[in-house]
């Protein structure tokens, strides 16, 4: 059998590995289509052959929910994530405008689109709560997704960037210079739900919540929310 | 067979208003550059939709704007040799030649094909593409392409302009045969009176988009009034003649109104009626029958009119039976010889060209 998962792009590393493990343990194939949550949600609205949807935020899942496209009671909060400030220089940064502007050194602060992409939206919430958004706003370079923000920092184009903790895991030359307290922004949640009646869905969802998957998610910097 | 055309058309500053009727045979469009010859041909071909008018061949109407008839170009069965060659650059010469037959889903007769290729001397070019052909080679291929389309109407717009005399001399008899044997009507544009005189049945002289003169070839070419349109050097008359003998020394004998004519080997059968053209400039007049001259041809006639030109020349019109000979001599000679209307006179003719043969004419 075969299960098609529509998942937000940022899950690619973890889900690719989990798909392989599921295949070995169950003998079934898990195909994962990665794209932005908005695109995936719209495709599901248009009858895409997705069995399971993992969104990078709750908004798009809510939209599908309201339209009755989710299978009854299948929605779970699968993962959480943390928002971090990264830089190439490992020296820890203080989340105050002087220090940050100092480190930017006239260069941009890399963030995902602040009013469109979840990581950007959370970032703005955090900076606002810290009362320094107005200072930083003019310096922000907005990228189409959070990985591009990471790339800007990795290439040295931006001295600092706001990304998820899960993005930083594999990079040795990128350092977390500060973590945002989770209280500064809405909770970062990756909800999951079934969108088809594929009989394999249950087993796949169970596997996603299972120990093996949990370990992989953790390894990749996610927090696993686990609860029913 | 008859050919009947009436066209009115405006384009930019030029307006065309042309109408003529012609019997079967070759209708020559004659006139100076920019007088509308190509425009007429294009209208007949259907490449130009005139504002008003019609064109008919016998009972086939090519178009009639008033009646709303418009035969599509590709159904007109044309062979059009354009003033610019318009060969298909992506095809070989051979493919160009075969285009018409293919388009009409018709097999081309190999004999006909070989004959045309041979006539035009393009056998060596068959595998080549048109782009690098010489000017004359292009023109010859264009002629071949039109002839091999098995046309029911030939439109020839200065087809021989870029060709040497020798090649022209080979192609003209072929066109004559098409005219006579295949009876294909031909609309022929040319600046060469020699060509026109040789081929044309009817001559239509255009001037500034209007018909200045139209009529049977012999009439137009022997009309002193038409001389200005045709150019003085080329004025001349055409006489009916009958081929009576081929002599052993290569000369052929013809009888005309004014006596016998001996011409270098005429390629035709005894008994045939033909026309010979005598340029006014080539005629010498004599009061008495001349003696001891190398010229073999002396015709006898009576002066009917003398017309003084702008220069020192006089155009003398000489009646012989019901036909006319034109002679262009100097006024000084006319005075010296005391020529008067009504005088008997001998016309000594050196060069004569066969203008046209029409069997049973």
């Amino acid at each position: 059998g075969e299960v098609t998962v529509f998942a937000a792009s940022s899950l690619k590393t973890a889900l690719d590995e989990i798909a392989v493990q599921w295949q070995t343990s169950s003998g079934h194939t898990m195909r994962v289509s990665y794209a932005g949550s908005s695109a995936l949600a719209r495709q599901i609205q248009q009858g895409a052959p997705a069995d399971i949807f993992v969104s990078a935020n709750v908004d798009w899942m809510d939209v599908l929910d309201q339209q009755g496209l989710l299978r009854d009671n299948s929605r779970r909060d699968l993962l959480g994530n943390r928002l971090v400030l990264i830089g190439t220089d490992p020296t820890p940064a203080a989340l105050v405008s002087d220090d940050i502007l100092d480190r930017l050194d006239g260069g941009p602060l890399a963030m995902a689109m602040v009013s469109a992409v979840p990581a950007g939206i959370y970032g703005v919430q955090a900076w606002t709560a810290l009362h320094i958004w107005d200072d930083l706003k003019p310096h922000v370079a907005q990228t189409d997704n959070v990985r591009s923000a990471l790339a800007l920092v990795a290439l040295g184009e931006a001295n600092l960037g706001v990304v998820y903790a899960s993005d930083v895991v594999a990079s040795s030359d990128i350092h977390v210079v500060a973590s945002f307290p989770q209280t500064l922004h809405d909770p970062i949640i990756y909800p999951v739900a079934r969108v088809s009646e594929n009989p394999l869905n249950i087993s796949a969802m169970t596997f996603l919540a299972g120990a093996a998957a949990t370990e992989i998610f953790r390894k990749n910097g996610f927090t696993v929310l686990g609860g029913q | 067979m008859s050919f009947s055309v009436s066209i009115r058309h405006r384009m930019g500053g030029f307006s065309l208003d042309v109408a003529f009727d012609a019997p079967k045979g070759v209708t020559a469009l004659f006139g100076r550059s920019g007088t509308g010859k190509t425009t007429v041909v294009n209208a007949v071909a259907g490449l130009l939709k005139p504002d008003a008018g019609y064109a008919r061949i016998d009972d086939v109407t090519l178009f009639d704007q008033a009646a709303g008839i418009w035969l599509p170009v590709h159904k007109r069965r044309l062979g059009y040799v354009f003033q610019d060659a318009r060969l298909f650059p992506h095809m070989t010469v051979e493919e160009n030649l075969a285009y018409g037959a293919k388009a009409q889903r018709r097999d081309m007769s190999k004999a006909q094909k070989d004959r045309v290729i041979d006539l035009l001397g393009i056998g060596d070019l068959l595998a080549r593409r048109p782009a690098r052909l010489s000017g004359g080679e292009k023109q010859r291929v264009a002629i071949g392409r039109a002839l091999l389309a098995d046309p029911k109407l030939l439109l020839l717009d200065e087809p021989l302009a870029a060709l040497d005399e020798a090649r022209k001399a080979e192609i003209l008899p072929f066109l004559e045969r098409l005219r006579d044997d295949a009876q294909i009507p031909i609309l022929y544009v040319s600046h060469s009176i020699a060509e026109v005189a040789r081929l044309a049945t009817t001559v239509v002289v255009l001037e500034g988009g209007r018909v200045a003169r139209a009529g049977a070839m012999a009439d137009v070419l022997s009309d002193p009034d038409a001389v200005s349109a045709l150019g003085v050097r080329d004025a001349g008359a055409v006489l009916a003649a009958k081929l009576v003998a081929h002599h052993a020394d290569g000369l052929s004998e013809l009888t005309t109104c004014g006596g016998a004519l001996l011409l270098p080997g005429v390629q035709a059968e005894i008994g045939i009626h033909m026309r010979v053209r005598i340029r006014a400039q080539d005629v010498i007049l004599s009061r008495s029958a001349p003696q001891g001259l190398s010229a073999l041809n002396v015709l006898k006639g009576k002066i009917v009119s003398m017309r003084q030109g702008a220069g020192p020349g006089v155009m003398v019109r000489i009646a012989c039976a019901d036909e006319h000979i034109l002679a262009r001599i100097t006024r000084r000679s006319a005075v010296a010889m005391g020529l008067q209307n009504g005088d008997e006179i001998f016309a000594i003719i050196k060069s004569v060209s066969v203008a046209q043969g029409d069997v049973g004419g």
């Binding site: 590393t13 | 590709h74 992506h90």
Partner: protein
């Protein structure tokens, strides 16, 4: 195999298939539209012209979105096609081909249109005097003469189809082995920390394939052009 990752080769083959069919099937339409735009005058010509250029003007994501809204399985046209003709393109490789075709269309049409406008109408006239119907004139004169333009258009279209990402992923998603084209795979790799290496290899394959197509087309086109120029 693993040099290009698990789905790499599949993506390469899929992209080739998608690009080929995208260009191949849309070519008759490209030629027809190009001919109409080059040779005909009619009310609404500017609208047609505009529609043709639309995929160029719009961000590809928007084009993909529009395609999804029209051809999705729940969308009006898509549902109709599925119900009455049994044709589904959404989320199939055929949909990727549709997206690629739409994105490549303006490029192909423009190239061919320019070529048609350069054909001397006198040659077409000459062909019709020889008895060729309009259709025959088109196929024996116009078409052969615009072959270099068609090749240029096809190559541009093929290159574009090979590189098309935004519209494709938006319209048909990136389901490995089914709709994940080479650009989607590259994009996916760029999302993975440390995925740049594999992405670079995929880019290389993409470049090599497209360059090969380019060189072949140049050679063919040159030969054709030289033919037409004589020799």
């Amino acid at each position: 195999m693993s040099w290009l990752g698990p789905d790499g080769w599949t993506a390469v083959l899929l992209s080739l298939k998608v690009s080929f069919w995208a260009v191949f099937l849309s070519l008759p339409f490209s030629i027809a539209i190009a001919w109409i735009l080059a040779r005909k005058d009619f009310v609404g010509k500017q609208v047609v012209n505009g529609l043709v250029h639309l995929p160029l003007i719009l961000p590809p994501v928007v084009t993909g979105y529009i395609l999804l809204m029209i051809l999705g399985r729940n969308a009006p046209v898509g549902a109709f096609l599925e119900q009455y003709l049994g044709i589904v393109v959404a989320f199939r490789w055929t949909g990727a081909a549709v997206a690629a075709a739409v994105m490549a269309f303006p490029l192909t049409v423009r190239a061919i249109r320019l070529a048609i406008e350069a054909v001397n109408p006198g040659l077409e006239d000459a062909a019709s005097t020889l008895g060729a119907s309009r259709v025959r004139v088109f196929f024996t004169i116009t078409l052969p003469l615009i072959v270099p333009g068609i090749i240029a258009g096809v190559v541009m279209g093929f290159a574009k189809a090979m590189g098309e990402f935004g519209a494709t992923i938006t319209f048909v998603s990136a389901i490995p082995g089914r709709t994940q084209t080479l650009p989607s795979a590259i994009y996916g790799q760029l999302q993975v920390p440390g995925g740049e290496d594999l992405a670079l290899r995929l880019v290389l394959v993409s470049v090599v394939v497209a360059m090969a197509a380019l060189v072949v087309s140049e050679v063919v086109s040159r030969r054709v052009a030289r033919r037409i120029a004589g020799q």
